[in-house]
Symmetry: C2
Subunit: 241 residues, 2 copies
DNA sequence: ATCGATTTGTCCGTATGTATT
DNA sequence: AAATACATACGGACAAATCGA
């Protein structure tokens, strides 16, 4: 029950009450919690106060709301899947080796003038063209990472013609007789952009691990620049030195 | 001005209005924005609606509030400092090379029985002892990373005696004639633990980049396991393959 | 050091809209 | 179509922190 004279904000007390009910199992994963009105009358506080408490718990990922349905207990964090990055990585093969089911889908692509940071990373002239591919990869049917991949158009003539038959990046490289290798990777943490949050089916307040990579073909030409966005609740990335 | 019939939530429109004033310079960094009451009457919306708009902009880091003083325009994000990780890294030297001022401080240390995950990572027996060091590193006087470093006690006899004279990890290794190399690193994103947030002087809702590393001495023995916690608003970590 | 004005924080009440069941 | 649940918006009140006269 809410203590009126404790000086502790009601919404804060209510957050703790709900948290306790989650940890001691009175509220279970995926279960609907009482509606705002019900909580409001049960604990004798205004509905706005309830909304404030629930809002905070949603922002911290402990609950989630669905308009018209209710508010639900979020899934507890699962064990992280460790994805091993190497100079020459094939997502599909790597996941299969780990005994999981990979899936890869090209969500969208277009040919554009290289954005500044891409041109810089690949050492391209300011007006050079690149293919920009949005790729989502799943592990065991769960969204795992979202990549924006930029490929130097000059190195891949005619790609636009058969990119729709896309199966995998390695397949494209094979078709051009290329076998690029990673030369640099940059790791950072952040919140997802909206596009990334949508593709990964995560809330905007869940951190993501972003990995920028630059790949070089066997003849020494920088050919691919990508930014991969990993769900922090599902993925970690490892390297062996 | 707020469009009443557009179907776009008022608080959303107000967010955009404030954002525009920030980007076009009408509101400058550190400057106080009009009070809630002033905005409320200027744009003819309720004070709560103003609070909702401002609240969102605070959560996304564009504004910050000070009770009794007002609401202010936050600093734009600074460029991330890229820290290059290699098999044999000396923080102090690396930062100096980049033309910045490094600083390293041992916040605490103790000798303990190896925690499970540490014993696992270092291949130690369950009851082996390790030194646990809490180290904070600064770049240009700003907290940059916080590390928990675990050193195999068996490999460093008598360390307890002079650890207080700690200058740097490389100095300790030198004293034992060791020159360990990184063998594995694991990257993930998360929120900081409270201890980490305090040491880095960041709020608990700022993501951090965590890097676990295992180091092996030149004779092939695993000797150090560390978890480094980097501020996502200041640091990114790169590797060359 | 005090007081009053200002500003944000918390809380209550109410009404209407929109999505889901 | 009706009921339910969350989303947005308006109104008012008092508390707590800050600042300047």
């Amino acid at each position: 029950m809410i203590e009126r004279e404790s000086g502790i904000p009601y919404y804060w007390q209510l957050m703790e009450i709900i948290r306790r009910q989650i940890v001691n199992g009175r509220l279970k994963e995926g279960q609907r919690i009482p509606s705002e009105i019900e909580l409001s009358s049960a604990y004798r506080v205004n509905r706005h106060t309830v909304r404030q408490a629930i809002g905070e718990l949603c922002r911290s990922g402990e609950l989630y709301k669905q308009r018209g349905r209710g508010t639900f207990v979020a899934k507890p964090p699962v064990d992280l899947f460790e994805y091993r990055l190497s100079p020459k990585t094939s997502f599909t093969d790597d996941i299969r080796e780990a005994g999981k089911t990979p899936d890869s889908r090209l969500l969208a692509w277009r040919e554009v003038t290289a954005p500044v940071h891409v041109a810089e990373a690949l050492g391209l002239a300011a007006d050079e063209r690149v293919f920009a591919l949005d790729i989502r990869r799943l592990v065991n049917r769960q969204p795992f990472l979202f990549s924006k991949v930029f490929l130097s158009a000059a190195r891949l003539p005619g790609l636009a013609g058969f990119i729709d038959k896309f199966r995998s990046l390695p397949a494209i490289y094979d078709a051009y007789g290329l076998s690029p290798r990673r030369v640099k990777s940059v790791f950072r943490a952040s919140f997802p952009e909206q596009e990334e949050a949508v593709a990964l089916d995560i809330p905007g307040n869940l951190p993501v691990l972003k990995v920028e990579s630059v790949l070089k073909s066997q003849d020494g030409v920088l050919i691919e620049y990508s930014v991969s966005c990993y769900r922090s609740d599902f993925a970690k990335v490892s390297i062996d030195w």
